[in-house]
């Protein structure tokens, strides 16, 4: 069962994230879609802000180069610190992993790799799981059918390189518009194949 919930709406099933408790009852804390299944459920916010989590793969832009590392804009209010010996320049685009976050939700990055020239898109971070798909199904399919190399960062940045970039962008826009439609992978497949014929 899918249903739209608003902040302060009571939730009967067990939901851990995006909720709060008051006097033994659970209430939604966000404006989102509640997906219920046999007493358990989850809330997917309709819009959101990227908050770094340990283990996230993100795409960042170098803001400031310091001795022994650099400050990286990762689409959050506070920039993240990357400890690295690689010679980055300002405005370089890189993919990295969030190693650690502190109480202030500031991230420390590592396992960085510089990305060559490509196209960078920014989308709402709540849409990212849909763009990746279950077990990377969506993103693998898009890469296969367009011949592009696509890297999706958890922070809502998408880097596209080579192949048919416009087709990738069209597919991503369709996913963003139809986030809450089921069977989306099939629809995108048809869209991509239809245009190639």
């Amino acid at each position: 069962m899918k249903k739209i919930v608003i902040p302060g709406e009571e939730i009967k099933s067990r939901v851990r994230e995006h909720t709060y408790e008051d006097k033994g009852k659970t209430y939604s804390a966000v404006y989102g879609v509640l997906i219920e299944n046999e007493g358990k459920g989850k809330i997917v916010p309709l819009k959101g802000h990227y908050l770094p989590r340990k283990g996230d793969t993100i795409i960042g832009i170098v803001e400031d180069v310091k001795y022994g590392g650099c400050m990286v804009d990762i689409n959050t209010a506070e920039s993240a610190y990357l400890h690295t010996e690689r010679p980055y320049k300002e405005a370089d685009v890189l993919v990295a992993e969030v190693m650690d976050i502190n109480e202030l939700k500031e991230a420390k990055l590592s396992r960085d790799r510089k990305l060559p020239k490509g196209t960078l898109l920014e989308v709402d971070s709540v849409k990212v799981p849909r763009i990746i798909g279950k077990n990377n199904s969506m993103i693998n399919m898009i890469q296969e059918l367009t011949g592009s190399e696509v890297i999706v960062g958890r922070n809502g940045r998408i880097w596209i390189h080579g192949g048919d970039i416009t087709k990738v962008m069209d597919a991503i826009n369709t996913i963003i518009e139809k986030t809450h439609v089921s069977g989306l992978t099939e629809k995108i497949k048809k869209q991509l194949e239809g245009e190639s014929e």
Binding site: M1, I6, P7, G8, Y27, A29, Y31, E78, H180, V181
Partner: protein
């Protein structure tokens, strides 16, 4: 404020605009109207036309104002120069600074600011056309815009005014009733718990009248809440099982 020459209630107990004593003006709310804002809302409440935009959480500027424990909420209520009969001088006035402060404090009660330390959430509310009760309408629009921005909150904030005209308690005063009536009493509540987060008063009530006005205003706010809920639920439709 009181003017004996103006009759605000006719013999049948109807008001100047034909409403009953416990009737709201017509309200329409639309969520998500601005493309560039993170969340937004357009609201019409009688003759009031209000647009609210929410930006953030984003970097705090100037940086020393950042709070390491929670986000900073900025609320700006602005009366457009062309929104009132006589042109309002642009920029913040004594009145708009006060309204911004009390409205911000009302929203601070419900927005989960501790989720976004060292950031700032901006709420800008522009009154494009004013016709009494703008602070209630502005706060109602702002809370819909905050929810639309995906900012975690405990509840929406719903506001409504009550007042006294012709010796009787009435809901949601219109312009003439506000200008020539005996009292105006705007409140804002959290609809789930009915906790009062804003309360102001202009004019005089007896103790009994105050109780009645509070009850009237809360019942009005609950009607407004249903409209806020509807606006948010209508914006998206869910397909599938």
């Amino acid at each position: 404020m009181k003017n004996p020459d103006i009759k605000l209630l006719d013999n049948k107990g109807k008001r100047l605009d034909g409403r009953g004593l416990k009737e709201l003006r017509p309200i329409t709310i639309k969520a998500g109207v601005l493309d560039r804002a993170d969340g937004s809302c357009y609201l019409e409440w009688g003759g009031n036309k209000i647009i609210a935009g929410v930006y953030g959480p984003r970097e705090v500027i100037p940086k020393h104002l950042a709070d390491p424990l929670k986000a900073r909420l900025v609320y700006r209520y602005n009366l457009a120069p062309f929104s009132v009969d006589e042109r309002a001088r642009p920029g913040p006035s004594r009145r708009s600074i006060e309204i911004s402060k009390v409205s911000r404090e009302a929203l601070e009660k419900t927005v989960m600011l501790e989720e976004f330390p060292k950031t700032q959430i901006d709420v800008y509310v522009e009154v494009l056309e004013a016709e009494a009760g703008t602070r209630c309408a502005a706060l109602t629009a702002a809370s819909v815009a905050l929810a639309d921005a995906g900012i975690p909150m405990k509840d929406l904030v719903t506001a409504c005014a009550a007042g006294k005209i012709g010796g009787k308690i009435a809901l949601d005063l219109a312009k003439e009733e506000d200008n020539y009536g005996e009292a105006d009493f705007p409140i804002a509540i959290l609809p789930r718990t009915r906790e009062v987060v804003l309360m102001q008063m202009d004019g005089n009530f007896t103790r009994e009248e105050l109780d009645e006005a509070l009850e009237t205003a809360i019942s009005g706010a609950m009607q407004v809440y249903e409209l806020q809920k509807k606006a948010l639920k209508e914006k998206y439709s869910v397909e599938g099982e």
